[in-house]
Symmetry: C2
Subunit: 503 residues, 2 copies
């Protein structure tokens, strides 16, 4: 990707096509398993496939690296860690501590970039250990369900794994109008110093995390979203609580429609889009329908991510996408698309587009693609999603919306962190957690969480659900005192009580 200073490995490029008298293009390679894309899912698919066959080719366009290390999980968590530390410094008076803070706008980004490079270089190191004959640089497109074209090379494969990842969606025209003032997760971690102001478009996981992080680092941030929701929570009680809590800290422009974006008028400057002085003016209708304007140094576009499938020419391989963008016939338990010799994994399929699912799917698709016959079904993994805002959000198992949509009868056990011992010790003033239980089976169906460090509680609950531990058994777990885990026990007891009331 442009703008990214990662070292490039000296990888074999696609060979010039052999001269041939026939007009029909000649197959330049025959391989068993082709994997398209060398990000997290593609690399994991590769690791799984080479255990079965040496006849593997990993094809990658652009950098041989992962979204996670380069422009995703790692740099965002690095920024968030700095931001939360800044917030902690600014809110320490409650503990009897008097502190001052000066954010070094360059040093913050420098640490993010240095550590990001460490993680990205670790990935490069791993890839460099793959034998050269297993790697090909270039963008692939399907010729038919068993053949892909990469530059001058035409490669025939018994199986093909699509692991092309995803990219940020940018509204039409914005890139041209805003130039370098328009940022996405692909470019925001490259800025040399924290900006003075930032408009964040989209209050999903990425938008919320980064809006809060930049805000906590002293950047003036406005967070725009078309709907009136923040983050991933589907439980209306938690969603409302989250909006209330974040409203106290952040400048939220929810229920807002963006009418126009433009660079501010700077007639003296020739090359406006690249000027360091140009700013972005956003014209928007707020939720009362009133038109307003605001001006920012940068816009971070975090509306959504879309799978990188356009250049693959999927219809040639007979693959259609459903309205969610998931290939028709995709089986998450095998990775296969219908009965085709084609598998998919990672963000390319929009099915649970998060990193640990990409690993899971990559391993599954790579293994099943490389096998000589048949496919194996994986044991399903309990759904688990975390947003690293503060308070954090987490969803485990079936979420509230899925449960209500399915019209399943379920009970709720709630905990309010404002009245939880350890949270009170930590001076935490808000946050809630809701467990959803099935009275018939005595099992937890799922949970939504909004509270301090709920990433940990979310793991524990996901694991309990995965191993079919009953609510009664969970209550008998050891809970050390004083911990946040005790709050989980309180919610379990309330859930049990609610289930007994209606039994």
């Amino acid at each position: 990707m442009s703008g990214n200073p990662m070292p490039q490995h000296n990888l074999p490029r696609s060979k010039p096509q052999q001269k041939n008298k026939s007009t029909k293009p000649v197959i330049t390679r025959h391989v068993h398993t082709v994997i398209i894309g060398a990000g997290t899912a593609g690399q994991t698919a590769y690791h799984a496939a080479v255990k079965v066959t040496d006849n593997v080719l990993l094809i990658n366009g652009g950098e041989w690296n992962t979204t996670c290390a380069r422009v995703g999980c790692m740099p965002s968590k690095l920024l968030i860690t700095a931001a939360n530390r800044a917030y902690d410094i600014n809110t320490s008076e409650v503990f009897g501590l008097k502190s001052t803070l000066k954010v070094d706008a360059k040093a913050v980004m420098k640490r993010v970039q240095l550590e990001r490079d460490f993680f990205a270089n670790s990935v490069l190191k791993t890839v460099s250990l793959f034998p050269d004959q297993h790697k090909l640089s270039g963008y692939a497109r399907f010729i038919n369900k068993n053949t892909v074209q990469v530059g001058e090379e035409r490669i025939q494969a018994q199986r093909i794994v699509i692991a092309t990842g995803g990219s940020p969606l940018i509204p039409e025209g914005w890139a041209g109008k805003l130039g370098k003032r328009l940022l996405t997760n692909e470019s925001i971690f490259e800025i040399k110093k924290l900006p003075k102001s930032l408009a964040v478009i989209g209050s999903g996981a990425q938008g919320l995390e980064l809006a809060q992080a930049f805000h906590r680092l002293g950047v003036r941030v406005k967070l725009f979203n078309r709907s009136e929701k923040v983050g991933s929570l589907t439980d209306p009680a938690l969603q409302q609580h989250a909006v209330d809590v974040f409203s106290q800290e952040l400048d939220l422009a929810l229920g807002t429609i963006i009418m126009n974006v433009a660079l501010t008028d700077s007639p003296k400057l020739q090359n406006r889009t690249n000027s360091k002085k140009a700013q972005v003016q956003i014209t928007f209708k707020n939720k009362s329908g009133v038109e307003q304007q605001d001006t920012f140094d940068y816009v971070l576009c975090a509306i959504t991510r879309q799978p990188n499938l356009g250049a693959l020419d999927l219809p040639t391989a007979g693959i259609d996408l459903d309205q969610r963008g998931i290939p028709v016939g995709y089986n998450p338990l095998t990775g296969q698309i219908g009965r085709k010799p084609i598998f998919i994994a990672g963000d390319a399929d929009l099915y649970r587009p998060i990193m640990h699912e990409a690993v899971f799917q990559g391993r599954l698709s790579g293994f099943n693609a490389a096998r000589e016959t048949g496919v194996e079904k994986s044991l399903p993994m309990s759904p688990l999603g975390v947003i690293f805002s503060e308070p954090q959000m987490a969803i485990v198992g079936l979420n509230y919306r899925q449960l209500t949509d399915s019209q399943q009868l379920f009970h709720i056990g709630e905990l309010d962190f404002a009245h939880q011992g350890r949270a009170r010790v930590m001076a935490v003033k808000h946050g809630k957690l809701r467990l959803y239980g099935d009275a018939k089976t005595g099992r937890l169906l799922g949970a939504e969480m909004f509270g301090p460090h709920v990433e940990h509680l979310a793991h524990a609950v996901a694991w309990m659900i995965q191993h079919d531990i009953s609510i009664e058994q969970m209550i008998r777990n050891p809970y050390y005192h004083p911990t946040l885990e005790e709050g989980l026990r309180t919610a379990l007891l309330r859930l049990k009580h609610a289930m007994q009331q209606t039994a």
Copy 2:
């Protein structure tokens, strides 16, 4: 307890003994279940017992409150939270943040005390809901296995639960020599402002936690211990690592023998022990055998805690203590002592003297005591211990020493947090975690941990052990990225590998 500003409830005092012509003392009350001690274990025993019978009497000497809320878990965690925040402020430069810190020595203690009072008052509120006829203030002693004396009252009971808690052990003579300059957990949270200097005697859980907390709040602290160990870790690799890590931060005087303690010579002061200017001089032999002296504002004695059994006159009830201080015949699965009508729970029995075990034991002993016939065995709870130092320590299941003592064959899977992704994001430079596995069963036997926020990993591991989840199943859990939980997965994979190597 003196010095504690808790409101006292107006509770019924023991009645004057009825006049009687016989010299044999008259039984003033007949109850089914007597519970001696109204701390955490006693209150839980009470809750369990009243579900079975209304004929319960809860006897309590001193404050009707809990060690946990008053002088244990809660005030220590409040102090630790402030201390870790101070540390975070002082170590924020790595993130590009420039900060200054001034610790308000009074405000820190004030918040600890205010919040401590909140927790202690919650306990009082709970106790105030127990009916008056169920409560008696005073210290009990056994007359025989079915009778206790409380002041002028002689109470006969079918069952008796001992839940008298524990107290800090103070070396002979220290109290007299040092007066108010000698602190224990019973008094240290009462000081109005942070001292300038503090000697902490004992580097177990309490000593380590408080030494580090006061140090991080700017107090000059020296941590003395007879052995060369800190905290609870029994795995030599982790114990050594912990000593190395804490040596970088704290003034550790390990392997040290204290020769003498005395107040500094202040001839002008009449009442030296109560003087605000007197200091404590400690004469000690360091681990090289060299005699040294150092002077401190206060000494915190955190050597160990001992059960409050002395005043009970246990031999009268036919109860002996073994060398560990646990009543001979005590069955942790029922709470009963031999076949006597006597049960024990909480810190009084020195069997796992931690808060959640006190709850567990209280519930068990209270329930079994109140039952008309027989006792029920509880399902055992997976052992779980946490020390809230930073890095935290945790032990789960069987510890390293228990495993080696039992000469059981086991394998080790280790994680070094210095090379763990999320820990690196957090700028964590040290910490290790070791899992102990049984190759025959494919099960985890236990774990010792020393690292960032391992309280959470410790819970998750304890629960997996409790529910007999195999190592292979644990590896297939979802692990969100980037989290500390992923480090657990790394250790599990290494453990699996180690087990396969020798299989």
